[in-house]
Amino acid sequence: MTTLNVNFINPFIDGTLNTFKIQCAVEASPGKPFMKGNGPTLTAEIAATIGLASKEFCGSVSIGFSESLFLALMGNMLGEKYTEITKDLEDGASELLNIIFGQAKTVLNEKGYAIDKAIPTVIRGKGISFNHLSSQPTLVVPFETQHGPFFIEVVLEGQRN
C-alpha cells in the first residue's frame, strides 16, 4: 500500500522549491511537516488542488497561499506589480501547482507509482482551509518565504475509488 512517507513527499517539496525559484525568483524554506490536526490550522486566500490517481491509490495535493505571497509570486513571474488578485491572476495558483505536480510526478513515476495526468482547480476566499473527504491522515508541509507563508497538503487513500 502506498503511504505518505518521505520518499513520496520529498518530490513535492523539491518541486515546490524549484518552481518558486525558477519561475518566480522566490526562495522558499520548508518547515517541519505535521499531520493535520496535530499542528496549527493553516489558511489561505488563494489555493489550488489537484487529484492524485494511479491504479493503486487516489488522493490529492493542495497548495494554499497568503495574498501577499501570491501577489509577489505573480509579480515576479510576470514582471509587473500587483496589488490585488484579479480574475486574470487566479489561474496562476493552478499553474504553479501544475508545474510542481509535473516535477513530482516525473520523479515518482520513475519509481513505479504510475500517477496519471490531472488538471488543477483554483479556490478563492478568505481563510480557506481544506477539508479532505478521506479517512486517511493529511500531511501538511508549511513553508516560509520573504513575502509570506504558504503550505501544501497531501492526502492519499490506499485504494482508488
Binding site: 524549484n18 518552481t19 525558477i22 486574470d88 499553474e95
Partner: protein, 134 residues
C-alpha cells in the same frame, strides 16, 4: 534566430502562462504572437490561417482541457499545409515516455516548466537552426 516578424501561435489554457510566454517573446523582439486557450481553439485558427497568412511557429502546452497538445500536434503533422510548421511543447509533463511520444509524433523540440526566458531563447535558436538545416 527566427525573425522578429515570425507569426507565432501560443497555445496554453492558463492565462498567466500565456502572459508570461508572450512577455518573454516580446522581450526577445517578436512582434506577432497570437494566443489560443487550448487545442480545440487553436486548430481552426491554424487551418484558417494556413490558406491566407500561415503561422510559422507553434508553442503549445500539453495538458489542457478539451483537445490536448499531443492531439493538436498529430493533427498538425497530418495536415499537408501545416505539417512542416515547427512545433515546440512548453509543458510541465516531463516524463521520458511523454518526451518520446512527443518527438515520435513530430514535435520539433520540448521545453519543461519551470523555465527561464534564457531557456526559451536557447530552444528557439535551436529550433531555428533545426528548421534551417532541413
Amino acid at each position: 534566430m527566427f525573425p522578429a516578424e515570425t507569426r507565432i501561435l501560443l497555445v496554453d489554457d492558463m492565462t498567466t502562462m500565456r502572459k508570461l510566454v508572450r512577455r518573454c517573446l516580446t522581450d526577445l523582439g517578436f512582434t506577432s504572437v497570437t494566443e489560443a486557450d487550448d487545442g480545440e481553439t487553436a486548430w481552426p485558427m491554424l487551418e484558417s490561417a494556413a490558406s491566407t497568412i500561415p503561422f510559422q511557429l507553434i508553442i503549445s502546452d500539453w495538458n489542457m482541457p478539451k483537445m490536448q497538445g499531443i492531439q493538436l500536434l498529430k493533427k498538425v503533422r497530418a495536415n499537408e499545409a501545416l505539417k512542416t510548421v515547427p512545433f515546440i511543447f512548453l509543458t510541465a509533463e516531463t516524463e521520458k515516455t511523454q518526451v518520446m511520444d512527443a518527438i515520435q509524433s513530430g514535435a520539433t523540440n520540448y521545453i519543461s516548466k519551470p523555465f527561464t526566458p534564457q531557456t526559451l531563447k536557447e530552444k528557439l535558436a535551436l529550433v531555428h537552426a533545426q528548421v534551417q538545416k532541413k
